[in-house]
């Protein structure tokens, strides 16, 4: 049963989402970036932002935006690198009409600006499965962690924990062995989903960053297992613990960008989601799998949030968990 929920179920869900969600990711996003030549308040940028799906990204360098575009993560990259010149990077043969519209918008705002159209051939397209798979891997890691505390509740209620204690096994040893055994499940599930996704479902994901992904999966596993312990410390029965885990599992999955891009959510929800450990984890993992460059800061924020949530939950859970 455990294997079904933690391995087969995410695979089924990934496959289903891969087929039923037609357009995911940021493939519709027209990202506008600039070096110091333009700001968001510049008249031309202001005008461009009135185009549907256009978005100003001050955190992205023009080269990074072009790279994201060439990897298929964006619909178009609009780069303003020097005064009086704006480049439109687009898919050749697909977005010519849009390029004309954007050129007109720029000319209307400032006729002195030179618009350069830069067509690209053979730009890869991120299919729904490519977008969903990293999210599903992260979701599985979270589920194994959050629901893991239920096992402790079952062992407590069946007095197995008591029996272990009578044999000299300490509380910290029980918690550590609980986390260690499930970390193995986390890593196994993540690897299996990755390989099935890549080689059977043919997801276009890049595994060259495995040495970053694996430690992040490990840290995420410990974080969510600690949260599972905290949940277990709040309830008497495994059933109650399961219901609570379920009640936070699905909302978190929806608001943290697993199924839909975070940018499609209302702003207050985005702000709330940004302090949850799942949000940066999903984004970082997805970027790593889609070979989109991530900054050191993004990596630090992701790991930092996981560590803060993990240590707080582990500390509180260890104190509050009732062994009898």
């Amino acid at each position: 049963m455990t294997l079904f929920w933690f391995l087969a179920f995410p695979l089924i869900l990934t496959t289903l989402f891969g087929f039923i969600v037609p357009n995911v990711g940021n493939q519709s996003k027209l990202v506008i970036v600039s070096d110091e030549s333009y700001t968001k308040d510049s008249p031309v940028i202001d005008k461009l932002l009135s185009v549907p799906n256009a978005e100003w990204d001050p955190g992205l360098e023009p080269e990074e935006a072009v790279e994201q575009f060439t990897r298929g993560y964006l619909a178009m990259a609009i780069t303003a690198e020097k005064d009086q010149e704006i480049s439109l990077h687009y898919r050749d043969g697909q977005d010519r009409e849009l390029v004309e519209v954007l050129s007109n918008v720029i000319k209307q705002a400032d006729s002195s600006i030179e618009v350069k159209s830069v067509p690209y051939e053979d730009i890869q397209t991120i299919r729904p499965i490519d977008f969903i798979l990293p999210g599903m891997i992260v979701l599985t890691i979270m589920q194994i962690g959050l629901f893991g505390g239920t096992t402790l509740l079952m062992d407590r209620n069946s007095q197995t924990l008591r029996r272990l204690k009578t044999n000299g096994v300490t509380a910290s040893e029980i918690i550590l062995s609980h986390i260690f055994s499930r970390i193995l499940l986390v890593i196994a599930a993540a690897m299996l989903l990755t390989f099935v996704g890549k080689y059977i479902l043919r997801a276009n994901i890049d595994l060259s960053n495995w040495y970053v992904i694996l430690p992040i999966a490990f840290i995420a596993g410990i974080c969510f297992l600690s949260m599972g312990l905290l949940i277990a410390s709040m309830f008497r029965s495994p059933e109650a613990g399961n219901i609570f885990s379920q009640s936070i599992n699905f909302p978190m999955a929806f608001i943290c960008g697993i199924f839909f891009p975070l940018s499609t959510m209302p702003e207050p929800l985005q702000k709330f989601a940004s302090i949850l450990p799942l949000t940066p984890l999903v984004e970082t993992t997805r970027n790593l799998f889609l070979a989109i460059e991530i900054s050191g800061m993004q990596l630090m924020v992701t790991v930092g949030l996981l560590v803060i949530w993990g240590i707080s939950s582990l500390g509180l859970g260890s104190i509050l968990f009732k062994w009898e």
């Binding site: 007095q159 197995t160 008591r162 029996r163 204690k165 009578t166 044999n167 000299g168 096994v169 009898e324």
Partner: protein, 300 residues
């Protein structure tokens, strides 16, 4: 020689005192029985001894362990009801627990002791009640403890399984172990225990050998007589007995000299032309002692 000393142990849950200043000592190598009805405080007392619960007051001293805080290698506990890991086999379960004490090399000894040879490769979930209890008992022994605490080990077992487990417990004594056994079965206590402590409402009300306890009963036998019509107390005024009471249709007579009482009783029924429809004779046992001490039956 004492292996365990308990002094004025107390424990309350809220306003309810479940262990009330209990004191006793257990001698090395004996089977010490705790007899009492459900809820008497037996399990709480042994859980305190085993270090699973903290006492509100009093002291437990285990020989060679001045501090009672770390006695897991000295005391083995079989809890009243615990699940084991259902998907593990008997052998895997034994090895797991033996490894906690770095004693996996003595696996065969424990298999033989608890007669689990036939089910070594059986998953725990497929064991019968008796087999599960024997496995549970063997897990209490994996640290090779000097004191073995068994909490109601035969509850829910069929007579044959009970007898098998009794044999195992007896063999523990033969190996020099000290066994503390809680039970509410009088036959079990009489059969196995060298000394028995009777506990009720958290208080120790009697402590002696089974023979000593039985000798403390002022009568040796109980006669239960049913006659038509029912005999009255005035008709029994010349009969020798220790005590008498009447139930719906029965007359229950406790006597120290049952031959004399029985012949007198038959004479009275004959003289009064009564028909004896039932006559039962029973040796006085722990049940009667408990009744005498508490005014209620043990099974209550």
């Amino acid at each position: 020689m004492n292996v365990l000393q308990v002094d004025k142990l107390t424990k309350s849950y809220g306003d309810k005192k479940v262990v009330d200043e209990i004191s006793f000592q257990v001698n090395r190598g004996e089977i010490f029985g705790f007899l009492g009805p459900n809820g008497a405080g037996k399990s709480t007392t042994i859980e305190i001894i085993a270090g699973l619960k903290k006492a509100d007051g009093g002291k437990v001293t285990v020989a060679d362990f001045p501090s009672h805080s770390n006695t897991t290698s000295s005391i083995g506990v079989q809890l009243q009801s615990t699940d084991l890991y259902k998907e593990l086999t008997v052998k895997e379960t034994l090895l797991l627990f033996l490894n906690f004490h770095n004693r996996s090399h003595v696996l065969d000894e424990y298999i033989e002791l608890t007669k689990l040879q036939q089910v070594l490769d059986t998953k725990v979930k497929h064991l019968s009640g008796g087999q599960r209890q024997r496995l549970s008992l063997s897990l209490a022994l994996v640290a090779d403890p000097e004191i073995v605490i068994l909490d109601e080990p035969t509850v829910g077992l069929d007579p044959q399984s009970r007898r098998t487990l009794w044999g195992v417990i007896q063999s523990l004594k033969d190996r020099g172990k000290t066994v503390i056994l809680t039970t509410h079965f009088m036959d079990e206590a009489e059969e196995l225990c060298d000394r028995i402590a009777i506990i009720d409402h958290g208080r120790l009300i009697a402590l002696d050998t089974p023979v000593g306890l039985l000798e403390s009963i002022p009568y040796g036998h109980t006669l239960t007589l049913t006659t038509e019509p029912q005999i009255t107390e005035s008709e029994l005024k010349d009969l020798k007995y220790e005590s008498i009471h009447f139930s719906d249709s029965d007359t229950i007579i406790h006597t120290a000299q049952f031959t004399e009482t029985l012949s007198g009783l038959l004479q009275i029924t004959e003289q009064n032309q009564m028909e004896v429809t039932s006559l039962k004779l029973k040796n006085a046992g722990l049940e009667e002692l408990f009744l005498l001490l508490t005014g209620k039956e043990l099974r209550d």
